[in-house]
């Protein structure tokens, strides 16, 4: 005799959300004892591999720290060494004023003289400057041209070559730029010094004290 078919939802079989079927539950109980029971893997003692005798493994963190410190010390040492070397190799150029090459050219470049203008006493009657700037610059150039003797020039040239070799950071264009800058600097300082002296002398005459000694009292 056949059992009557019941309309049972599949939800319980799917996700146990529907109405439970007693037969299914019975099967669950019977088969549930065979379900997978998670447990840690137990390896028989006979099959366990022998532990490698790696002594350093216990000291790994300490070794890492020591290596890091050693690297830092090494890096600092290298850095300080290089810095000291750079300092030692800092260019100490010999007095190149005698060399009429880049310095004089650059000074000439700084002084622009139109060709179509007469230079015959262009500043006559100027009481502030006793002589025109052109004469002053020419005098500077002449003084610097006439100063050295050939031996000095040769010695300076040799030393200059040594410096160029010792200071690769200032080789080539940078060195020329520095020399041109030096010439400009000296020209600027001359003009500034002359004007300052003139101002001080005009202000105080040639009588009492020097105003510039009171510069720190200002402000």
């Amino acid at each position: 005799m056949k059992k009557p078919m019941r309309n049972v939802s599949d939800d319980y079989l799917w996700d146990q959300s529907g109405e439970p079927d007693p037969e299914i539950q019975e099967l669950e109980q019977l088969l549930g004892t065979l379900r997978c029971q998670p447990r840690p893997l137990e390896i028989p003692a006979a099959l366990q591999p022998s532990r490698p005798r790696f002594v350093l493994r216990d000291f790994k963190p300490r070794l890492a720290i020591a290596a890091a410190i050693a690297l830092v010390v090494l890096g600092a040492g290298l850095w300080l060494g290089l810095a000291r070397r750079e300092r030692r190799d800092t260019p100490e150029l010999v007095k190149t004023a005698a060399k009429p090459s880049a310095s004089d050219d650059s000074r000439q470049a700084a002084v622009i003289v139109p060709e179509d203008v007469s230079h015959e006493n262009p500043n006559a009657g100027n009481e502030v400057l006793k002589e025109p700037v052109s004469v002053l610059v020419e005098r500077v150039n002449r003084t610097r041209r006439n100063r050295p003797n050939p031996t000095t020039v040769a010695a300076n040239a040799n030393r200059q070559r040594e410096i160029e070799l010792k200071t690769p950071e200032l080789a080539g264009n940078e060195l020329k730029e520095a020399q041109a800058g030096k010439a400009h600097l000296m020209l600027a300082l001359r003009v500034a010094s002359a004007k300052l002296n003139l101002a001080i002398k005009k202000a105080q005459g040639s009588t009492s004290g020097n105003l510039i000694h009171n510069q720190h009292k200002v402000g």
Partner: protein, 193 residues
């Protein structure tokens, strides 16, 4: 985890914004305190001048130049020491063939920058015969931040602007010493025996 990430990002953004503000503020302050005066208003005088001296040395060139001074040479060592605290030197000298080639407005364009609390006029010489000679100093406490010299003769105008802590004693001693020839701008009176 996400909130921690967002918090970190927000903190970093705030820090970056604060740093930006600090840098901008420092820049504005530095600009306000600069002793540099603009000389471009005199550029048009070069066309009329019979001779022009034009020197622009900024801090980078000054540093580069200071490397080639010989410290074993006393004169160069003194110059190096003098310029070690400087941040720039700017010089304009225009020499004219005849009087009246420059105007009062040209001078005024420089003087207007030297007015105010930042600059102090320490020397002021004026005469119809000799023109004007003015020396200005910008100081902060006892530190000199800059020097400006304005000289205006009948046929010449000269402006010197030095940035940085300049020692006026050493600068005035420069002329006529250690390889710098005396330019003869002011000849010393001969002593009578």
């Amino acid at each position: 985890m996400k909130s921690l990430y967002q918090t970190s990002v927000n903190s970093l953004l705030k820090l970056a914004a604060f740093a930006t503000l600090v840098v901008l503020g420092a820049g504005v302050t530095a600009t306000a305190q600069t002793a540099r005066i603009q000389l471009s208003s005199l550029d048009h005088l070069a066309a009329k001048a019979t001779q022009t001296v034009d020197v622009d040395l900024d801090e980078s060139i000054m540093k580069l130049t200071s490397k080639i001074f010989n410290k074993n040479d006393d004169d160069e060592a003194r110059v190096k020491q003098l310029v070690s605290g400087l941040k720039g030197i700017y010089v304009r000298v225009f020499e004219f063939e005849k009087e009246g080639d420059y105007s009062v407005a040209d001078l005024e364009s420089i003087r207007s920058q030297l007015r105010g609390t930042a600059w102090s006029k320490i020397v002021n010489v004026k005469s119809k015969k000799e023109g004007a000679l003015e020396v200005y100093l910008m100081t902060q406490g006892s530190e000199v931040l800059g020097l400006a010299v304005l000289a205006a003769g009948a046929k010449e105008i000269a402006v010197v602007n030095i940035l940085g802590n300049i020692d006026l004693d050493k600068l005035s001693d420069l002329e006529g010493t250690f390889g710098v020839p005396d330019l003869g701008i002011e000849k010393k009176p001969k002593r009578k025996n």
